[in-house]
């Protein structure tokens, strides 16, 4: 494999009622429901995107994490639309929404829920917001696999002429959730894109 060094130029995690940016807590809140917690993040960071409210919980989580990941760390003019990839993974795909959709079909099936019964829709929501058109994939794995993630993304960067990649873990089932996203770029930074560094940030 060609030796192109990439770097983790930003990270964001949303878990345990906290929001981390670049390994520091930037927001913390206790709400009665997960939905209220997500809305509190949306309002705290003064996001303006009405479609947020229509998203399912998995997409809200991933979309919020991506917004915070990119805020102040990403120049949208810097790369072409097809030079930015998104590679995500989790264990339970879209089962949270699948279950909710299944409940609705006992009465009248909900079209709004149906469109979120695939995990990669979260990638679509992030891409629509930022007009990203690069490679994308959503993998299902038993647990966060930093070695696979590092190798897959690095391979894309080498072979697909990518300049940047948003990658990481977006998992949500009922009230259990964890989004940990990384921004990978060729631009030099003090955190090298290695499996060890991915795991270190994920384990915060």
């Amino acid at each position: 494999m060609e030796n192109i060094q990439s770097y983790i130029t930003a990270s964001c995690a949303i878990k345990n009622g906290k929001v981390f940016k670049n390994e520091k807590i930037i927001f913390e809140n206790i709400e009665d429901t997960l939905s209220s917690f997500f809305v509190s993040i949306y309002k705290n960071f003064e996001m303006q995107y009405p479609k947020f409210y229509k998203m399912d919980m998995l997409s809200k989580l991933g979309w919020l994490a991506a917004e915070i990941l990119l805020k102040n760390n990403f120049d949208t003019q810097k790369y072409k639309a097809d030079e930015v990839a998104i590679i995500l993974a989790n264990t339970n795909a879209s089962i949270d929404t699948d279950t909710k959709y299944f409940e609705t079909i006992k009465d009248i099936a909900s079209p709004a829920l149906f469109v979120y019964t695939l995990p990669n829709i979260v990638i679509g929501e992030i891409s629509i917001k930022h007009n990203f058109k690069g490679e994308n994939a959503f993998f299902i794995s038993e647990k966060f696999d930093p070695i696979f993630l590092k190798n897959y993304v690095q391979n894309l960067i080498i072979n697909n002429n990518l300049q940047a990649c948003i990658c990481g873990w977006v998992e949500l089932v009922k009230e259990d959730y964890n989004a940990t996203l990384f921004l990978i770029e060729k631009e030099q930074n003090n955190i090298k894109f290695t499996a060890e560094n991915l795991n270190k940030i994920y384990a915060l």
Partner: protein, 83 residues
């Protein structure tokens, strides 16, 4: 019409909006409230769930869902027919 607006807000998860933000004659799609095709399906579900009205002819959709007022008129007309 306020009740209908509240139902639309709940059905479509328009949590940023209050009933008074939606004009009686404001277009619901495109340049108005900006609803999309999935929202149109949700409005059909709303009619069925809340008012037991089935949109028999899909071609009627654009006229029925043009504004809150046209929806209200359609509901009123069908409730009168059903009673």
């Amino acid at each position: 019409m306020t009740d209908l607006k509240l139902q639309i807000i709940a059905q479509l998860n328009l949590q940023d909006l209050k009933p008074e933000d939606i004009g009686d004659d404001q277009s619901l799609f495109v340049d108005g409230l900006g609803l999309d095709s999935i929202d149109a399906l949700e409005l059909i579900v709303l009619l069925q769930q809340q008012y037991k009205i089935k949109l028999a002819n899909a071609d009627e959709g654009p006229a029925v869902f043009k504004t809150v007022r046209t929806m209200a008129e359609y509901i009123t007309a069908h409730q009168a027919t059903n009673s």
